[in-house]
């Protein structure tokens, strides 16, 4: 195995690396978001049927993508930590969870804002919105469980088990909600099925998605650094770190 990688898996070794990476990802996130918003508001044309309101999908869709992707990432790190007994993985999953929950919340919020002009209601029991809501509950459960267990090592392992059970269930939940939706024939307007996605719209969405990626990485790294310091507060290097900071 690559010994360099394993050396970095020690929280103490990763702490300065994360610190060096942080400004780069923050900068990229800001630049990409600016470019994406520029495309979204000034370049993309007004939609023929939905007017200006559709522009919210430039936030909504990337947020929805990230909400699902981060859950998988979180479960991946958690599972890796459980199997390989690496401390950093558990911290990584803790660092990702709030960002994932935030994107899920943004997806729901923007979905509701978008729903008002298009369906005439803030909340429709649309399949995607409903699954997104369940996903938010899964995130909240993960965060609550980790917060409720005092011993960090135990919290990591319990959280990992929950995340793994969740990640097995997420596709089933999505499928079941889809199934439920067809049976009850609720609102069937889908946010991502925006009429005739123009290339420029796709570009804007892609830029925003990349910005969301970079933002997630930056925030996760920053949060990871804080978690590392907190958990290693009794170690000599962490005391030194805090006195210089």
């Amino acid at each position: 195995m690559n010994s360099e990688l394993f050396r970095l898996a020690a929280p103490q070794a990763f702490f300065p690396v994360a610190g060096k990476m942080l400004p780069w990802f923050s900068f990229l996130a800001g630049a990409l978001a600016l470019a994406g918003l520029y495309v979204a508001f000034f370049v993309a044309p007004t939609d023929a049927t939905q007017g200006e309101a559709y522009r919210i999908i430039f936030i909504h869709v990337p947020a929805a993508w990230m909400s699902m992707f981060i859950y998988v990432m979180m479960a991946g790190w958690a599972g890796f930590g459980l199997a390989m007994n690496t401390r950093l993985s558990g911290m990584m999953s803790s660092a990702l969870a709030p960002t994932g929950a935030m994107f899920t919340f943004i997806a729901l919020w923007t979905g509701a804002l978008w729903g008002k002009p298009t369906w005439g209601t803030y909340w429709a029991w649309d399949a995607r919105m409903t699954s997104e809501l369940v996903l938010l509950f899964l995130y909240l459960g993960f965060i609550a469980l980790k917060g409720a267990i005092q011993d960090p090592a135990r919290a990591d392992r319990a959280g990992a088990i929950l995340a793994l059970v969740g990640v097995v269930n997420v596709p089933i939940i999505y499928f079941s909600v889809q199934w439920w939706n067809t049976l009850h024939q609720g609102a069937s307007v889908s946010l991502t099925r925006a009429p005739s996605m123009a290339a420029v719209m796709l570009l804007g969405m892609l830029l925003m998605a990349l910005a969301a990626w970079m933002y997630s990485i930056a925030v996760a790294l920053a949060r990871l650094r804080r978690i590392i310091l907190e958990r290693e507060r009794d170690a000599e290097w962490a005391k030194l770190q805090r006195s210089t900071a």
Binding site: A144, L145, V165, I172
Partner: protein, 221 residues
Amino acid sequence: MTGFLTVLRRELRIALRRKGDALNVLVFFVVVASLFPLGVGPEPNQLRAMAAGVAWIAALLAALLSLARLFAADYADGTLEQMLVAPQPLAAVVLAKICAHWLLTGLPLALVAPLIGLQYGLPADALCVLLVSLLVGTPVLSLLGAAGAALTLGVRGGGALLGLLVLPLFVPVLVFGAGAVTASLIGINPAAHLSLLGAFLAVSLLVGPWASCAALRVALD
């Protein structure tokens, strides 16, 4: 196998000496289901459309109530510790506890549910579907719920946390279970719903005991 039977027999014997516990869950189920019409009004068509959802939600809540105690007593008195250090495989022990939980809560709930259905004016074939959907679906509640109960063992605020952890995981059971009844009400064959429920039961049979065992090892670390 001996471990499974030993634990199952013991669980049932203890339950027999504390009949109140299982009975309370059953009464809770009936009370919750009976309160809904008081909240939404007695309009028969509306009640018929709600019946499956109400019965299933009441079943979820009743299961949740009983799950909180699934491992708690054994954890407190040291029995769980002995189960972990015993040569009998932990999976067999956990599966026996899950089985006992279903026999003591899920099964009685399913058998009583048609009575609730009658209160809500469900026709005979829908009553049958409700019974079958609960018979297939309630084991999932015990299986996945056991994992939640094991994860929240010895954790402060365990009861509410347990709900937050497991209720979202119960979404497919609710959808397929209540959906089967609704489907039969509007003249669709409920077989598809019930097979999907069965498939989810199979998945839970793999996930539930694994997660419970892993979580118990963490809780007793």
